[in-house]
């Protein structure tokens, strides 16, 4: 991969955190990034933790006993939450990136009808599905498991 062109970033990390006058999608973008970074951090540890299985059942069971602690159960839910949100919000972003769910091309007159009539309902549907999955995952991790 080659380096990209450089632009000045006046606000830096602070600029990511404030959505300002932008809509709820701007805040989803921030959560998307935080969730993505969290999942990446977890995944790098998960490679080593799951590799313990090559040392046999005793080593595996010892590792799983440690991970049965309530703190790690909460961590498992946080990862599930992050994955469900990031995956479904990412699917929404890919659909929009590829030109689906953006409505017909029209003159951009504020308030943008495409944004309100097509993209906003898509966002709501995707977030409802994510919420249902997160609830099911939480029930599985904390109640049924």
């Amino acid at each position: 991969m080659r380096e990209t062109r450089q632009f000045d970033n006046h606000l830096g990390i602070i600029g990511w955190l404030g959505g300002g006058r932008w809509g709820i999608e701007r805040y989803l973008y921030i959560i998307h990034r935080v969730a993505g970074l969290g999942i990446l951090l977890f995944f790098m540890m998960h490679i080593f933790e799951s590799s313990v299985r090559i040392f046999g059942p005793e080593s595996w069971d010892t590792a799983m006993d440690v991970l049965a602690h309530p703190v790690f159960k909460l961590g498992e839910f946080v990862v599930f939450f992050g994955f469900a949100f990031h995956a479904l919000n990412g699917l929404r972003l890919i659909l929009i990136e590829l030109g689906f769910a953006v409505g017909k091309a029209e003159e951009p007159v504020y308030p943008y009808r495409s944004s309100l009539n097509v993209q906003r309902p898509l966002m709501i549907v995707v977030m409802v599905i994510a919420a249902v999955l997160i609830l099911a995952g939480g029930m599985n991790i904390f109640v049924l498991d």
């Binding site: 450089q6 995944f43 490679i47 299985r53 595996w60």
Partner: protein, 124 residues
């Protein structure tokens, strides 16, 4: 052009993660509700279930694809975020090379574990 192809691979990797990562999440973290790919019943991380999946060629192959997809997608995303902070061109080159090296090392470790794990446990 290379940035564009990198971005397209980023999206393809995201779709692969959506499918294979979704399958992994349903298998391991929704086991009590769905109960799929856990032939010994009980917990998804019980040794009998883990060793069964580890010996299954389908899971070995999908683990390796998922590993590659997550590392590429994750590190490309991290690189994008870091580049937004406006590093110098030299720093950009260092970040790109460092992330490629880290990704390759983690991919080799994870792939070795996925292949080595095929010979563990007894057949159910």
């Amino acid at each position: 052009m290379r940035e564009t192809s990198g971005w397209i691979w980023f999206i393809i990797a995201g779709i692969v993660i959506f499918i294979l990562g979704g399958l992994h999440m349903m298998t391991v973290h929704m086991n009590a509700i769905l109960g799929i790919f856990n032939p010994a019943a009980g917990d998804a991380v019980d040794w009998e279930n883990v060793s069964w999946r580890s010996r299954n060629l389908f899971f070995t192959v999908t683990y390796i694809f998922l590993l590659a997809a997550v590392l590429y997608h994750g590190f490309f995303g991290l690189r994008t975020i870091l580049f937004e902070l406006g590093p110098s061109r030299g720093a950009q080159r260092f970040i790109t090379k460092f992330l490629w090296c880290a990704g390759i090392v983690l991919f080799v470790i994870g792939t070795y574990a996925a292949i080595a794990a095929r010979s563990i446990g007894k057949v159910l």
